[in-house]
Symmetry: none
DNA sequence: AATGAATGAGACTTCATTCAT
DNA sequence: TATGAATGAAGTCTCATTCAT
């Protein structure tokens, strides 16, 4: 018999229900932020009663933690699965993948913001989730440097710079019209141009 | 036109009191975030009573709006005052100025995050404050392009890319240890390296 | 007569399970009090599921009633079994037996306190349980009066006075250090002295 | 000017309001016990809103603590004010004073019971309140021993024995009909008889 | 008969806002 | 104009009880 994880029917139901709650929480948290999200609304979104939430998570912050965990797993996996041998493709995928899903954009912002305010999230998110995302990016950069298609920049610095820009863009994007002005700053346009900036830099010629 | 602002003693006193409250609100909001900041705490920080807050601002969100307005004024002014004729100095000042003050870092995050959740802030912040900051940056870039020290990249895209990265770094910085890892990622080190990335790009050689 | 109670195997099993639940409930109620005791904790202590509790008892208050019933049976039986022909031995056993078991002390307090708040307990406990305990004590006192070793005091009044003191001491004892002060008020010391007070009174000489 | 405590009008109002809330809390706690008393009911009894309770007390347990404090003050004062030079009067007043007020009877039970369950109350009540009550009683007994109207029994033991009996009687009394049976056990009758027991003891003759 | 997940009423508590002083 | 006590709506969380499996 091969069925791995969910041993019996009850365990499968529990896992499914937990997933269903996490899904609902991700939706509500990403829409309203942590503080303005209410357990009542999450319960309604998950189509369960409020009490049921507490059968699966200790409290509201634990629920946010669960969402953070699932989110970090997903993003790390996505980055690890990027298939790109040249720098341009890698950059393009790093930059654009983060923007396909509005929920992912908003969760990125959510955790960055809330982590500072909630010690429990801070500990997990900054030391586990974000660390893994950055590490994965760094690893990919290291591969490209070894392949000779990327300058020998500290891959940790590069990974953080790209990650920071992605986060910032996520925020600008969510604010609508990229921080004001609808001057043709379309996804298609900036995708190419931002990649160009990161690849070739801003300087007219190489500056030391 | 002569500075007609503080007409008489009463008006001067009102302006001073309003400034004092905004200052306190900026401190408390930047520390605790909007939702977790309480009017009582702001009042204590400003050394006035809770009721007095309502003599100067309609409600809590109006107070956040006031802080946003003052913040945007200050940042715009700082950017306009940057004295730099070459790209490296410009980049260095853009990147490092935003990190001198912990309060400025946190307020940056605060408005980015809260603007999406509060229509009133959204309207003002994304259309006025952020717009002005980006416009000012764009204008400076345009000058550098005209001076021939910067590639002829769309200055709007460049301004938004830099701004996004700054915001992202602000968040990473606040999370402590730059998102995990104490691998010598010191302010001195990343200041130079990040500038290098933005000036010269990541690619081993110019990529089209 | 052969113990005719447990007719068949199923009944024996039911009785054993009921006993097991009552035992667990007595432990949890005596530790936490009625309101703070949870059905979940009682179930865990009894090593059954929450649902099973409701197969043996209608609800929480019915469970408390069951504990009260068993408790009254046990105490009444103990008093009836005291073997003492003189007043001093009787007093010593009445006073000290109630303190051997911490659980018995706490259950004494529990029922006294909760009975007033819960009509169902009130009815049973004050009219059945306590009544039987006091009646049994009264009966024993009557025997001692008849034997001429005890003054011809109303045995009902005497029984209630002794019972009241026992309850009060149970409470003081549970509070730790007998209401404060560790001035040598050891079980050995007060056992003898309290008996002396009840036997010989406080007055310097017989007062009318 | 002699007016001591309440300096100005606002302070007087605050003190009065706090008193009013404590009064209401004492009523509701004594009627329903701690757990079953609700903040809503206390607020209604005090004729204020629920929120106002929290302007004067940190939380529910702090409110119970406040009631305990006031109660201990009152009982200690009453005992100190007993005017009695002979043992019979002293006993009569100790025994009967505690029973005049149903609220005092019930509060006695309340604190004895809850103190064990709530560490905060435990600390204050058993170490401060009860200690003071017992100490005051002990002091009075010492005076009677010195006056030669009381046997040279350890006054600490005597004070605890009397206190224990009083508490136990308070409980029996509250249970209605003194633990069942309406056999002429009237307040008048038991007052005299219990005093007799404590004065002269149960034994037919002095027992060693 | 046993299980334990689901339910939802109701508890405590917070806090923006009002208003009498 | 300044104060801060009062308000009460709304939030998080608990837990006795039910019921499908």
């Amino acid at each position: 018999m091969i069925t791995a994880e969910p041993k019996n029917r009850r365990d499968r139901r529990r896992a499914a229900r937990q997933e269903q709650i996490l899904e609902a929480a991700a939706v509500v948290f990403s829409q309203n932020g942590y503080e303005r999200a209410t357990m009542k609304e999450i319960a309604q979104q998950a189509d369960v009663s409020e009490g049921t939430l507490y059968n699966y998570f200790d409290n509201k912050i634990d629920l946010l933690n669960g969402v953070a965990r699932a989110f970090a797993d997903e993003v790390t996996r996505k980055i690890a699965n990027i298939e790109a041998n040249n720098l341009r493709d890698m950059m393009a995928q790093l930059l654009t993948d983060r923007f396909r899903s509005g929920r992912e954009r908003r969760l990125f912002m959510l955790f960055l913001y809330e982590a500072r305010l909630h010690p429990e999230i801070q500990q997990y998110y900054s030391q586990q989730a974000l660390q893994r995302i950055i590490d994965e990016t760094e690893k990919r950069f290291r591969g490209l440097i070894d392949a000779g298609v990327m300058r020998a920049i500290d891959p940790g610095v590069a990974a953080r710079t790209i990650s920071a820009a992605i986060m910032g863009f996520a925020a600008l994007y969510e604010l609508g019209r990229y921080g004001g002005g609808d001057n043709g700053f379309s996804p298609q346009k900036w995708g190419a141009q931002v990649t160009d900036i990161f690849l070739n830099g801003l300087a007219a010629e190489m500056v030391q």
